[in-house]
C-alpha cells in the first residue's frame, strides 16, 4: 500500500498504529507491530497494576522492546494519571524514546517539553474543538477516536465516520483514525474519510504477543456485533464487553439511577481482573465495537500483513 504523511513523519512503512491498551500493551506486542512495519506503543503499566511501580516498568518495557526491534516504537502517557509530574516522562527521555502518544488531558501541558527533547507527539481527541486545541498546543498528529472504540470514551459520542472528515477539514496536521477499525476495509475507509493512518486497539488485544489473559482474548474472538456496551454516561464513559458488571450498570442507567449508584468503585481492580486475570464475567473488560469482526488470535505481525494485503484488494475494487 501507499505511504502516507504519517509513515514519512514517524519513519514507519505502514500507517498502522497499535493502541496503548492500559495494563496489556507491553514490549512484546509493541515490538511485533513495529517489526511488521507499523508503530507499536507501550503502555506505562503494561503487566504492572501497581501505579507506584510504573517508573521501573516503563524503563523495563522500553529496554525489552529495544532488544526485540530496532524500528521506531512509542510510549503512551495518559495525562490525567501523570498530571504535571514529569518524572515518568524523564525516564522515557533518558531511555531515548522518540515518539509518544498522549490523551485524557490538556496537550499544552507537556507537548513543548516533549518537543524540547526531540520527541514527536500524537494526541488523542474526540471532537473538532479538541483537535483544533491540540494543533494549537503544537502536537504533531491527532489521533481522532470515535464512539465505537473500547475503553474510556468521550461524552460527545462522535463516531469515527463523522469525526474523521470534520477533524480533517479543521486542522492542517495529519489525522489518524481510531475506533471501529479491524481490517483492510476499515483502513481503506479511514483513509477515504481523509485520515493518514489508523490506530487499532481491540484487534491487537487478540494477538499472541499481547499480555492480555487468554480468556479475555477468547471473549473478544467470540464476541458478536452487539457484544459491547457503553456504561458510565454522565460520569466517565467506558465501552466494554456486555457482562454481569456492565449489564447491571446499563440497567441502572436506563432506570435513571443516581450517579453515585452507577459509579464504578475499584475501577482499576475490575480492569485488572478482566484484562490480566481473565474474569470477563464480573470484570471491566474494555472492548471496541469491532470485536464482532475479530475471529481469531494471531500474531501481531500477521494482523499488519493481512490488513495491508486486504487494503490493496479493497482499493482496487473501488
Amino acid at each position: 500500500m501507499k505511504k502516507t504523511k504519517v509513515c514519512d513523519f514517524l519513519g514507519i512503512r505502514y500507517p498502522i498504529i497499535q493502541g496503548a491498551m492500559g495494563l496489556i500493551a507491553g514490549a512484546e506486542l509493541a515490538a511485533a507491530v513495529s517489526e511488521a512495519g507499523g508503530l507499536g506503543v507501550i503502555s506505562p503499566n503494561a503487566g504492572e497494576p501497581d501505579w507506584s511501580k510504573v517508573g521501573d516498568n516503563i524503563r523495563k518495557q522500553i529496554r525489552k522492546a529495544r532488544s526485540l526491534t530496532s524500528k521506531p516504537f512509542a510510549v503512551n502517557f495518559p495525562i490525567h494519571m501523570i498530571k504535571d509530574d514529569r518524572s515518568l516522562i524523564d525516564i522515557a527521555i533518558a531511555e531515548g524514546v522518540k515518539i509518544v502518544t498522549t490523551g485524557a488531558g490538556n496537550p499544552a501541558l507537556h507537548t513543548p517539553y516533549f518537543h524540547e527533547h526531540g520527541i514527536k507527539v500524537l494526541h488523542l481527541v474526540a471532537t473538532v474543538r479538541h483537535a483544533v486545541g491540540a494543533e494549537k498546543a503544537g502536537v504533531d498528529i491527532v489521533l481522532a477516536e470515535g464512539y465505537e472504540s473500547g475503553g474510556i470514551n468521550s461524552p460527545d459520542e462522535l463516531t469515527t465516520f463523522v469525526l474523521i472528515p470534520q477533524v480533517v477539514d479543521a486542522v492542517k496536521i495529519p489525522v489518524v483514525a481510531a475506533g471501529g477499525i479491524g481490517d483492510g476495509r476499515g483502513l481503506a475507509a479511514a483513509l477515504a474519510l481523509g485520515a493518514q493512518g489508523v490506530q487499532m486497539g481491540t484487534r491487537f488485544v487478540a494477538t499472541t504477543e499481547c499480555l492480555a489473559h487468554p480468556d479475555y482474548k477468547k471473549a473478544i474472538v467470540e464476541a458478536s456485533d452487539t457484544a459491547t456496551v457503553i456504561t458510565g454516561r454522565g460520569l466517565m464513559l467506558f465501552r466494554g464487553l456486555l457482562n454481569d458488571l456492565t449489564k447491571e450498570l446499563r440497567k441502572k442507567e436506563l432506570a435513571g439511577a443516581p450517579d453515585e449508584e452507577r459509579s464504578v468503585k475499584m475501577f482499576s481492580k475490575l480492569s485488572e481482573a478482566a484484562l490480566l486475570h481473565g474474569d470477563v464475567v464480573k470484570g471491566q473488560a474494555a472492548c471496541g465495537e469491532i470485536a464482532g469482526l475479530v475471529h481469531e488470535v494471531i500474531s501481531a505481525g500477521e494482523v499488519v500483513r493481512r490488513i495491508v494485503a486486504d487494503y490493496d484488494k479493497v482499493v482496487k475494487g473501488l
Partner: protein
C-alpha cells in the same frame, strides 16, 4: 463511479438513496434526487397536517413525483404503524417501483410488495436484523449506524462497524446509512463493503425539501457536537440539541416512564420542529454529520458533487 448491484436492482445511475424522512421527504425532493440519477424516496405523510388522511396524501405525493420525473423513486413506510396495510394497498395499486421499510418486522409487508413486483429495501441496525431481513426476501438491506438522525437502533452500532459485519453476513447488497454527506463518506462506505449509500440529513438542507427554513438553518449552523441521542430506554432518537431535547434528556436522566415521555412528546412534535419551524420546542431529527453540512443547495447538485469528487478520493487511496 463504478456501477454496483444496487444500480441494477433499482434501475438508477448512481447508488445514492435519499432517506424517506417523515413529514419532510416530499415529492419535489424525491423527484429531484431521482432526476439526478439517485433514488428519491417519499414519506407518506410529507407535508400533510396531522388530521389529514395519510393514504390520500401518499397518492397525491406519488402522482406529483410522477409529474416531475419518469425515473424510479421509492416510498418509505414505517412497518409498525397502524395504517400499514392500507398504505401497502396504495403502493401496490400505484405500482411504486421501490419501497423502503423500517422500524418493524420485515416479514409483515415484504411478501405482498414483492408479489406486486416492487423492490423492497429494509432498514436494519444489527447483523441479526440483517439476516432476518434477508430470510424475509428483501432485495437489499439499508444498514443504518448510530450516527443517523431520527429513530435509532438500541444496539448503538456505528456505520464503521455495522457495514462490514453485515456485508460478511448476508448475500444481498448492503446500503450504508448514517454519517454520510460527501464523496469521502461514499468511498468509505464502499470500502467497508457497501454497494450504495442512503443520506437523510444532507438532503434536508436542499431547496426542494419541504422542511421549514429555520430547521434547515439549524442544520447548517450545527457543529460536530450539535446532535444528541434521547429516549435511550424506550426509543433512542437522534436530533439537534435544543430546549426540547434538553427537557427529554432531563427526563431520561431521572428514568421517566414511557407514559411521562409520551405525554411530553405528544403527537406531531417532530412535525412542529421540522415542518412548522418551532426549532426550540419541536423535535429536530438530525444526523451527527450535520456539522459537515454548510449550505442549502439543490438536491441534484449534491449528487453531482459526490459523483465528481468520488474519483479523486479513490485516486488518493492508490
Amino acid at each position: 463511479m463504478k456501477e454496483t448491484r444496487v444500480c441494477g436492482l433499482l434501475g438508477i445511475k448512481y447508488p445514492i438513496v435519499q432517506g424517506g424522512m417523515t413529514w419532510i421527504a416530499n415529492a419535489e425532493l424525491a423527484a429531484a434526487v431521482s432526476e439526478a440519477g439517485g433514488l428519491g424516496t417519499i414519506s407518506p405523510n410529507a407535508g400533510m397536517r396531522i388530521e389529514d388522511d395519510v393514504e390520500m396524501n401518499l397518492e397525491k405525493q406519488i402522482s406529483l413525483a410522477r409529474e416531475l420525473t419518469n425515473k424510479p423513486f421509492g416510498v418509505n413506510i414505517v412497518v409498525l404503524i397502524s395504517e400499514i396495510a392500507a398504505l401497502v394497498d396504495v403502493l401496490i395499486e400505484e405500482g411504486v417501483p421501490v419501497v423502503t421499510t423500517s422500524a418493524g418486522n420485515p416479514r409483515l409487508c415484504t411478501h405482498r410488495l414483492k408479489e406486486a413486483g416492487i423492490k423492497v429495501l429494509h432498514v436494519v441496525s444489527s447483523v441479526r436484523q440483517a439476516q432476518v431481513a434477508e430470510e424475509s426476501g428483501v432485495d437489499a438491506v439499508i444498514a443504518e449506524g448510530f450516527e443517523a438522525g431520527g429513530h435509532n437502533g438500541f444496539d448503538e452500532l456505528t456505520t464503521m462497524v455495522l457495514v462490514p459485519q453485515i456485508a460478511d453476513a448476508v448475500e444481498i447488497p448492503v446500503i450504508a446509512a448514517g454519517g454520510i454527506a460527501d464523496a469521502r463518506g461514499l468511498a468509505a462506505a464502499f470500502a467497508l463493503g457497501a454497494e450504495g449509500i442512503q443520506m437523510g440529513t444532507r438532503f434536508i438542507a436542499t431547496g426542494e425539501c419541504n422542511a421549514h427554513p429555520d430547521f434547515k438553518r439549524r442544520i447548517i449552523e450545527s457543529s460536530d457536537t450539535g446532535t444528541m441521542i434521547t429516549g435511550r430506554a424506550l426509543s433512542p432518537t437522534r436530533g439537534l440539541k435544543n430546549a426540547f431535547s434538553a427537557e427529554v434528556a432531563r427526563m431520561d436522566k431521572r428514568g421517566a416512564t414511557a407514559d411521562e415521555l409520551l405525554a411530553l412528546i405528544g403527537m406531531g412534535r417532530s412535525r412542529m420542529g421540522q415542518f412548522e419551524g418551532d426549532v426550540d420546542n419541536g423535535e429536530l431529527y438530525c444526523g451527527a454529520i450535520a456539522g459537515m453540512v454548510r449550505d442549502v443547495v439543490p438536491a441534484g447538485d449534491i449528487i453531482k458533487k459526490i459523483v465528481a469528487d468520488y474519483d479523486r478520493v479513490v485516486a488518493g487511496l492508490r
